[in-house]
C-alpha cells in the first residue's frame, strides 16, 4: 500500500468522527509514526477519548482503555501472576497494557505508583512481573488524557514522567460549524464504533520503518540542537529540554515529513513541532510565572524561544 495514501486514509477516517481538527489528527498520526506516546490535555468533553478511540478503530489492531482512578493498582495495568491449580504453577495473566493502542484516561487521577508502572511500560515497551519479562505488542502507543482544569485529588505527573510522552496536545473546542455537524449526527451509535480499520499493524510498522529513512540535513540537526540549547539557556525557563526531548523532536520532525509526503525534513517541520513536543518538558522559571504552569504558558514560552533561533539558509 502506498504510504502517502494510507496516511491520508487514516486521517480522513478519524476526521469522520473528530470534526474540524485536522491539525490535531495530523499530529496524532505523526505521534503514531514516530513510535511516540501522546498526552492529551484538555477540559472534559472535547473528544479526547473519542480521538483515541477513533485512532484505535481506524487501525486493525487491539485497543484497551484503562480508566485511571485513585484505587487503581499497578497489577490492574500490567497484569499479574496467578496460581493455576491445573498446571500446578503460576500463570501470567496480562493486563490491559497488552494491546497496540492503550487509552489511559485521566492518568493524573491515580497514585504515582500506578502511574510509574504504566510509564515504565511506555519507555521499555515491556513489563516485568515476578522476574519475568513480557514484551508488549508492536506497534504500541499510549494515549493518555488528563484534565488541566481540576487539580483537586489528583497526582500531577512529575517532569521525569512527562518526558516519556512524545507530544502533549490540546484539542480545544471545535468551531461553531464543526460543533453543529457533531450535533447533527444520528445518535444511535457511538461514532467511533462505525469506523472501519484502514491500516493493519504490519502497515504501521512499515510506515514507522519508513520514518527512520527520512533525511535530516546536517544544518537542520544543528538548528534543532540550537533550539534545544536555547531552551536550556533561556531565562524564562528553569528547566530546559532533555536529550530525550531533542531525540523526540527529531523523530517527530521526520514523521511529520512522511505525513506531509516528503522524504526529507524541512526547518518548518521542526519549528512547527517544537511547541508540541517540547512544551511539556520544560519548567517555567518561578519568578516569571505562577507556581503551576499552564499548557498555554509553556507553549507560548517555547514559541518565543524558537522565534529567537535563526533558521539555516
Amino acid at each position: 500500500m502506498n504510504s502517502a495514501h494510507s496516511i491520508r486514509a487514516i486521517q480522513d477516517n478519524i476526521a469522520l468522527v473528530i470534526k474540524g481538527k485536522a491539525h490535531v489528527i495530523e499530529m496524532v498520526v505523526v505521534c503514531l509514526l514516530a513510535r511516540g506516546h501522546l498526552l492529551l490535555e484538555d477540559v472534559p468533553g472535547v473528544g479526547k477519548t473519542t480521538l483515541g478511540h477513533s485512532l484505535a478503530r481506524s487501525l486493525d489492531c487491539s485497543f484497551k482503555r484503562i480508566q485511571f482512578t485513585s484505587d487503581l493498582l499497578p497489577s490492574d495495568i500490567v497484569g499479574l501472576s496467578m496460581f493455576n491449580r491445573q498446571k500446578q504453577g503460576f500463570e501470567f495473566i496480562p493486563g490491559p497494557i497488552f494491546a497496540n493502542i492503550v487509552l489511559a484516561d485521566e492518568i493524573n487521577r491515580t497514585t504515582p505508583k500506578t502511574q510509574s508502572s504504566l510509564l515504565e511500560a511506555m519507555s521499555e515497551a515491556q513489563v516485568s512481573v515476578d522476574n519475568q519479562t513480557h514484551p508488549l505488542e508492536q506497534p504500541f502507543m499510549v494515549i493518555a488524557t488528563q484534565n488541566p482544569a481540576e487539580y483537586h485529588g489528583t497526582f500531577p505527573l512529575p517532569e521525569s514522567q512527562l518526558d516519556r510522552f512524545l507530544m502533549r496536545l490540546c484539542i480545544g473546542y471545535p468551531a461553531l460549524e464543526d460543533e453543529r455537524k457533531v450535533l447533527d449526527r444520528p445518535h444511535s451509535l457511538h461514532p467511533a464504533e462505525t469506523l472501519e480499520a484502514v491500516l493493519s499493524a504490519p502497515d504501521i510498522l512499515a510506515l514507522q520503518a519508513h520514518v527512520d529513512q527520512v533525511h535530516m540535513e546536517e544544518s537542520l540537526t544543528d538548528y534543532l540542537l540550537a533550539i534545544v540549547q536555547a531552551t536550556r539557556q533561556s531565562e524564562l525557563l528553569s528547566l530546559g529540554v532533555s536529550t530525550r526531548g531533542a531525540l523526540g523532536l527529531s523523530k517527530a520532525a521526520k514523521a511529520l515529513a512522511v505525513v506531509r509526503g516528503r522524504d526529507y525534513c524541512l526547518p518548518d517541520d521542526i519549528k512547527e513541532l517544537a511547541p508540541i513536543v517540547l512544551s511539556h518538558r520544560v519548567m517555567l522559571n518561578r519568578t516569571h510565572g505562577m507556581r503551576t504552569q499552564s499548557f498555554e504558558q509553556a507553549e507560548r514560552m517555547v514559541l518565543d524561544i524558537v522565534e529567537t533561533v535563526p533558521v539555516p539558509v
Binding site: H215, L266, P267, D268, K271, E307, T308, V309, V311
Partner: protein, 731 residues
C-alpha cells in the same frame, strides 16, 4: 506633512536648486533651460500632491522602456552637441547633465531613481561651483546644503518606516510596534534646520579662524631637521668627515629632460667660499639680493637688467624634493637661472648661491633651470687670460705663510703653457699623489693644508679642494671652493638621483673670463657600491613610490588644479578635432583606423588620457554595478560545479532574498523559507508566485538528499529574472 510627500518634495527641490545654480552660472542655454524649468515645476506640483497631475504623470511614467529610450536619445544629443553645436567638453557635459535631470524627473518612481537624481544634482552643483566665483553661489549652495540634508533625512525615514511596517506584520513575531512618527512636526522641522545652519556657521568660523598651513599638522617639524654641516658661513676643514658615513636622504633630484642614467655624477651646488685663512673658508661678501618674481611664478636668478652673456652652456632642468634641513640653501646644478617653488622670496648671494630667507620648516619641492657653463675652445688654448679686477681682488687671496704650497704649485705647473693646462696639472697631481680617507684627525692641526699636502698625504674632499684652490691662486688663476652634494645614486625606477648625507662634497670652481666659472673636482672618485643586491633594488623601488606620493598628493595645490583644467580644455579641443577626422575616415580599413587610434592615444595630453581612462573606469563600474545581479546569477548557474547544485540553490535563494529585501520585505532570521514566502505573499502580492516557486525548489534542493537538476536551477534563474524586472518596474 507626511514623510512620503515631504520626501518627494524635498528631492525635487534639491534638483531645482542644483539646476538654478547651473542657470545662474549662465551655462544653460535658453532652449534647454525652459523645458527643464517646466518639468521642474510640474514635478514640484506633482510631489506637492496636485491630484490630476498625479494621474497624468502615472500614465506617462508607467512605461519602463521610456527611460531607456530617453537616455539613448540624450546620449546621441550629447555626441551631436560635442561635435557640432558647442564643440567643447564642458558645456556639452553640462547640457547632458541638464537633459539627464529632466528625464530623471519625468521617470521618478522608485527609490533608486531618487538616488540617481541626487547624484545628478550633486554633479550639477559641483559643475556650477567650478564655473563661477560669483557671490550668488553662496545662497544657492546654502539652499542646496539644507535641502540635501533634508532629503537624505527623509530618505532614511521613509525607508525606516516601510521596514518597520514590514517587520510588524510578520506572523508569530513579537514585533515591537513602537509608535513611529510618520509626519513632520514643526519642532522637528526647525530643530533640523537649526542644526544644519549651526553646523555651517561653525564650519565657516573654523575655516576663517584656523590659520592656513601648508604642511601636515603631524608632519616632522624643524626640531627634527636633518643636521648638515658645510653650509654655514665658514667651512672648517675636518667637519665633513663625520657626515660622510650618514646614509640619511637629504633630497631627491629628478631630471625631466635627461634620459635615464644619462649622468653618473651630478653636482648640486650649495654655497661658494672665497676667503681662506689657513684653517677655514668663509664668504667675503654678505650682501644678499632678493630675486625678482616673474609673472609665471618663477624667480630669475640673473640680476635685473643684465643680459645673458653668450656662453656655451648646457641647460638642465631639475625637480628637487628637499628634506627638512637646518640650512636655507637651495641646491641646484651650477648655475641656477630660474627657480620656482612654493615660496615667496628667494635670495641670492654674490657667488650665485641661492637660498631662502630662513630654513624651511618642512620638506619642500622646487624646480630649477640651470645653465652649466662649458669651457670655450679658445680659452682652453689661450696662453694668457685677462681677468677683471673684481675677480682678481676676490679670488686670488691666499693666507700668509704658504710659500711651501706655492713652491709645490709652481713646480707642478712649470711645464704648462696655458692657464688651462696649469689647472689640469694641479688637478692631476692631487688626483694621483694623494689618498682619499675619511679618518683624519685634523682637529688639533694648525696647518691642515700643509699637513695634507706634505705630511699625511691623505684627506678628503675639502682637503683636495682647498689644496687645488690655494695652488691655483698661487699661480695666479682665480678659483673658489664650492660645497654641496655630489649625487651618484641613480634610482632607475623613479628616474631620479637619491642624495644622502654622505654625498656631501666640496669641489672647485675655476674662473675663465669668457666661459665663466668652470667646475673642477680634484677628489678621486670613491667607487660607489654598485647596487646589485635585491634588497637594495627593492628599497630603491620603495623610495621611488614615496617620491611619487609626495609629488602627486602631498604637494597637490590649486595651481595644479588649474593646470589640470587647462589640460582638459586643450585636450577636449584635440579630442573633437581628432574625432572629426576619425569619423571622416570611417570608411578606411580597420587596421588604418586602429593605427590612428593608437596614434591618438599617444598624442593625447597625459591629463586627457587620465580623464578618458577615468571615465571609462567609472562607466564600466557603473555598468557592472547595474548588472551585478545578472552577472551573479549567470555566475551561479554557469560557473559553479555541476556537482554542487545545493550551493547554487542557496546562492540563488540568497539573491532572491536580496531582491525582495530591496523592495522592503526582509526575511526575519527566525522565519523559515516557507513562512517567508507567505510573508511575501502578504506584503508584495505580485512577487508571491515567483517567491513561492523559488522557495519550493530551494526547500527541496537544500534539504533533500536528491540533487537538483539543471532544469530546476534554470527555472529558478528565470523566476529570479522575472522577479528582478518586477522589482524594477514596481513603484
Amino acid at each position: 506633512m507626511p514623510f512620503n510627500q515631504a520626501f518627494a518634495l524635498s528631492s525635487v527641490t534639491l534638483a531645482a536648486t542644483a539646476f538654478s545654480g547651473l542657470v545662474l552660472a549662465q551655462s544653460v542655454p535658453f532652449w534647454l533651460a525652459l523645458p527643464t524649468a517646466i518639468i521642474l515645476i510640474i514635478s514640484l506640483l506633482h510631489a506637492g500632491g496636485v491630484l490630476f497631475l498625479r494621474r497624468a504623470m502615472a500614465q506617462i511614467t508607467d512605461s519602463p522602456t521610456l527611460w531607456n529610450v530617453l537616455l539613448i536619445g540624450a546620449f546621441v544629443i550629447l555626441l551631436i552637441d560635442l561635435t557640432v553645436v558647442s564643440r567643447d567638453l564642458l558645456p556639452a557635459g553640462i547640457h547632458f547633465l541638464v537633459v539627464l535631470l529632466g528625464i530623471k524627473l519625468l521617470t521618478l518612481q522608485q527609490r533608486r531613481d531618487y538616488r540617481h537624481l541626487y547624484v545628478i544634482s550633486l554633479m550639477a552643483i559641483l559643475a556650477s561651483a567650478a564655473l563661477t566665483t560669483e557671490a550668488w553661489y553662496v545662497p544657492i549652495f546654502m539652499l542646496y546644503l539644507l535641502t540635501a540634508v533634508w532629503t537624505l533625512l527623509l530618505y532614511h525615514l521613509t525607508q525606516e518606516t516601510s521596514e518597520i511596517s514590514a517587520a510588524a506584520t510578520l506572523p508569530g513575531t513579537v514585533a515591537c510596534r513602537t509608535t513611529f512618527p510618520s509626519r513632520i512636526t514643526y519642532r522637528f522641522f526647525w530643530l533640523t534646520n537649526g542644526i544644519v545652519i549651526l553646523t555651517v556657521a561653525l564650519t565657516l568660523a573654523i575655516f576663517f579662524l584656523i590659520p592656513r598651513i601648508g604642511v601636515g599638522v603631524l608632519q616632522k617639524t624643524s626640531g627634527e631637521a636633518v643636521r648638515t654641516t658645510g653650509f654655514s658661513d665658514r667651512v672648517d676643514l675636518g667637519t665633513i668627515g663625520s657626515v660622510k658615513q650618514n646614509p640619511q636622504i637629504v633630497m631627491r633630484v629628478e631630471l625631466p629632460d635627461q634620459s635615464a642614467g644619462g649622468k653618473d655624477r651630478f653636482y648640486l651646488r650649495g654655497l661658494a667660499y672665497d676667503q681662506y685663512n689657513g684653517r677655514s673658508w668663509s664668504h667675503s661678501g654678505t650682501r644678499q639680493r632678493s630675486l625678482n618674481l616673474a609673472a609665471d611664478g618663477t624667480f630669475l636668478v640673473r640680476p635685473p637688467g643684465s643680459h645673458p652673456i653668450d656662453r656655451p652652456s648646457e641647460t638642465i632642468r631639475q625637480d628637487i624634493l628637499l628634506e627638512t634641513l637646518d640650512t636655507s640653501v637651495l641646491f641646484a646644478a651650477p648655475f641656477a637661472e630660474l627657480v620656482s617653488g612654493e615660496f615667496h622670496t628667494v635670495q641670492a648671494d654674490a657667488m650665485s648661491g641661492i637660498h631662502l630667507p630662513f630654513p624651511p620648516s618642512s620638506r619642500i619641492r622646487y624646480s630649477v633651470t640651470s645653465q652649466v657653463p662649458q669651457l670655450r675652445a679658445n680659452e682652453r688654448t689661450a696662453s694668457t687670460l685677462a681677468y677683471p679686477d673684481s675677480i682678481r681682488f676676490h679670488y686670488l687671496q691666499v693666507p700668509m705663510g704658504l710659500e711651501q704650497v706655492a713652491d709645490l704649485a709652481h713646480r707642478v705647473t712649470q711645464r704648462a703653457a696655458t692657464p688651462f693646462e696649469q689647472t689640469q696639472m694641479i688637478q692631476q697631481h692631487l688626483l694621483e699623489n694623494y689618498r682619499y680617507s675619511l679618518e683624519s684627525e685634523v682637529a688639533t692641526l694648525n696647518h691642515p693644508l700643509e699637513e695634507f699636502l706634505f705630511t699625511r698625504k691623505t684627506g678628503y674632499c675639502e682637503h683636495y679642494a682647498t689644496a687645488m684652490v690655494v695652488m691655483l691662486r698661487t699661480v695666479g688663476i682665480p678659483a673658489r671652493l664650492v660645497t654641496g652634494f655630489l649625487a651618484t645614486e641613480w634610482n632607475e625606477y623613479g628616474s631620479y638621483f637619491t642624495v644622502r648625507q654622505r654625498d656631501a662634497h666640496a669641489w672647485v670652481e675655476v674662473y675663465f673670463p669668457h666661459s665663466g666659472w668652470i667646475t673642477m673636482d680634484p677628489t678621486p672618485t670613491i667607487s660607489a657600491a654598485v647596487a646589485t643586491s635585491r634588497w637594495e633594488l627593492l628599497s630603491r623601488l620603495a623610495e621611488s613610490v614615496r617620491l611619487q606620493w609626495d609629488r602627486l598628493f602631498v604637494h597637490y595645490s590649486a595651481k595644479d588644479q588649474l593646470a589640470v583644467v587647462h589640460g582638459v580644455r586643450e585636450g577636449s579641443d584635440a579630442v573633437r578635432e581628432r574625432m572629426g577626422r576619425w569619423v571622416s575616415s570611417l570608411g578606411a580599413p580597420i587596421s588604418q583606423a586602429f593605427m590612428r587610434l593608437t596614434h591618438m592615444a599617444q598624442a593625447f595630453h597625459s591629463g586627457m588620457f587620465g580623464l578618458i581612462t577615468g571615465t571609462i573606469v567609472v562607466g564600466l563600474s557603473l555598468v557592472l554595478l547595474m548588472l551585478r545581479d545578472r552577472i551573479a546569477l549567470w555566475a551561479v548557474t554557469h560557473l559553479l560545479p555541476k556537482s554542487l547544485p545545493q550551493r547554487a540553490i542557496v546562492q540563488l535563494y540568497t539573491r532572491m532574498l536580496r531582491i525582495v529585501e530591496r523592495h522592503g520585505v526582509r526575511k526575519p532570521p527566525a522565519a523559515t523559507a516557507s513562512e517567508f514566502a507567505r510573508l511575501v505573499e502578504l506584503e508584495w502580492k505580485a512577487a508571491g508566485p515567483m517567491v513561492a516557486d523559488v522557495t519550493a525548489v530551494y526547500n527541496q534542493g537544500r534539504f533533500s538528499r536528491a540533487p537538483l537538476t539543471q532544469d530546476d536551477l534554470s527555472r529558478v534563474t528565470e523566476q529570479l529574472g522575472q522577479l528582478q524586472s518586477l522589482a524594477r518596474s514596481a513603484p
